[in-house]
Subunit: 285 residues, 2 copies
Amino acid sequence: MNVLEKIVNSVNSFSKSERKVADVILANPQTTIHSSIAALAKMADVSEPTVNRFCRRLDTKGFPDFKLHLAQSLANGTPYVNRHVEEEDGPEAYTAKIFESTMAALDTARQRVDINTINRAVDVLTQAKKISFFGLGASASVAHDAQNKFFRFNVPVVCFDDIVMQRMSAINSAEGDVVVCISHTGRTKNLCDIAAIARENDATVIGVTAYDSPLAKECTLVLSLDVPEDTDMYMPMASRVAQLVLIDILATGFTLRRGSKFRENLKKVKDSLRGSRFDKKDFNN
Amino acid sequence: MNVLEKIVNSVNSFSKSERKVADVILANPQTTIHSSIAALAKMADVSEPTVNRFCRRLDTKGFPDFKLHLAQSLANGTPYVNRHVEEEDGPEAYTAKIFESTMAALDTARQRVDINTINRAVDVLTQAKKISFFGLGASASVAHDAQNKFFRFNVPVVCFDDIVMQRMSAINSAEGDVVVCISHTGRTKNLCDIAAIARENDATVIGVTAYDSPLAKECTLVLSLDVPEDTDMYMPMASRVAQLVLIDILATGFTLRRGSKFRENLKKVKDSLRGSRFDKKDFNN
DNA sequence: ACGCAATCTGTAATTTAATTACAAGATATC
DNA sequence: GATATCTTGTAATTAAATTACAGATTGCGT
């Protein structure tokens, strides 16, 4: 509970002078956080220790600490919460909700992701002879994205969103190859098969999927994001964003692991794009 | 701009000692707001006046005022700041940084996106005879994702990442068709051409791209996200996540606009997926 | 209604924290 | 290599907050 609410709630348990302080603070919270205890005492027409006691009553260490708490209550920021879009929401409302839900999802993903597994995944990827990204449906675009990223590293990368191609690719995999299977639910049958086949052929299989899912059971390494989203009911949104960020992290880990001289490669790829683009400065002609 | 961002942004203009202070604060922002100037100075291994000067440089009145501002920045629980990954970062550090940068990017995107334009874009999309999503490179996967989403709405949707196909598709477009061109920089020549061609053929062209870019000039409607990211130098990460969220928003707006009876369609699509998946409960057999 | 106890409240002293002034050191510039 | 500019730290000063204590107020039982 934030301090402002707390003040309102406990307004009854205040003494006369404390209430004066509360009134002044509630009336000018912004002014309060930039005032000294003396100024506030004067505004409320009480003594300084009274203000101090008021602060303590609200479970803060003293006046400065109270101001800190108050400042946080006043911070414009909306707490990032998962809010479902409602039927009657206007553009403003659903835009805000989707942004916030996505940010909330990333926040939980960040807290739950296992750094060790990431590190091991990066290990495996840097040593891979060939990397394959497989996904179906919404996860297919994540796989594409991953290909786009890792492709720049001058490593053999493939990406299929076609189960037949995936199957062929999986069958042809060998030791040293890495197969990354992407699925939010981890319950897509075809992808489980692919993972199993790849493993039978000695490939290392990294699953970007839910813990404890059928797909996870087929994988060598499971990167679970644990984003709360029921993709059986709703369209995959936040979950897929979290997957993308995970791919970004793996790609970043990859470049860092490979050392600085390798990063010249990246520059080369970038430079090659220049020809296909308008110049940054003078595109107004 | 919040203080944390400010610190990150002006890290170059800091002196050696000020930088030490910045590092300590960025590493433990929560601790900082509960520390005295003496404690912080000790942590950063600098003198107290240095800390004070640091605060002043950030346009605050002094240390207590700085703490107030910092508290407000942290009010949302997590400091969402754009922090660049450094050479010597370990898995823990770069994972945190990428998550945070992405969230920070979404936060700015949310603030800068124009709701009116979103609303108009949704308008246009709901009335479209056919919707095409075009993107190249990293934006291609965003286009794919968009297709995957809009496809569920039982609207004719196409998506090409091949310039020849894009071109053909653009030439064949007609009034009532909507073409969505996705490009972070808006300086990809080929995509500008596509947009121009589509417009010449009376299609409505929505650009998911930078304001004032060459591509924007070719579009009927520009959805600008304004995520600070130099994709000429680095890989597109946060920018692309923001694009995806924008697509989510458009898709959501679309379903809301179409009314409730239309949403039964979505359920049908979902149900059709069930056969391809293991059941939610008993996948352990 | 009176007196005792408990609770408030304010004054003044104390402590703590933050800021300023100044000087020494480092760095850049010519 | 000398001078000027910018950094940084030490010590002194000032400002702010807290504590200790005493006076005032309120509530309660007789």
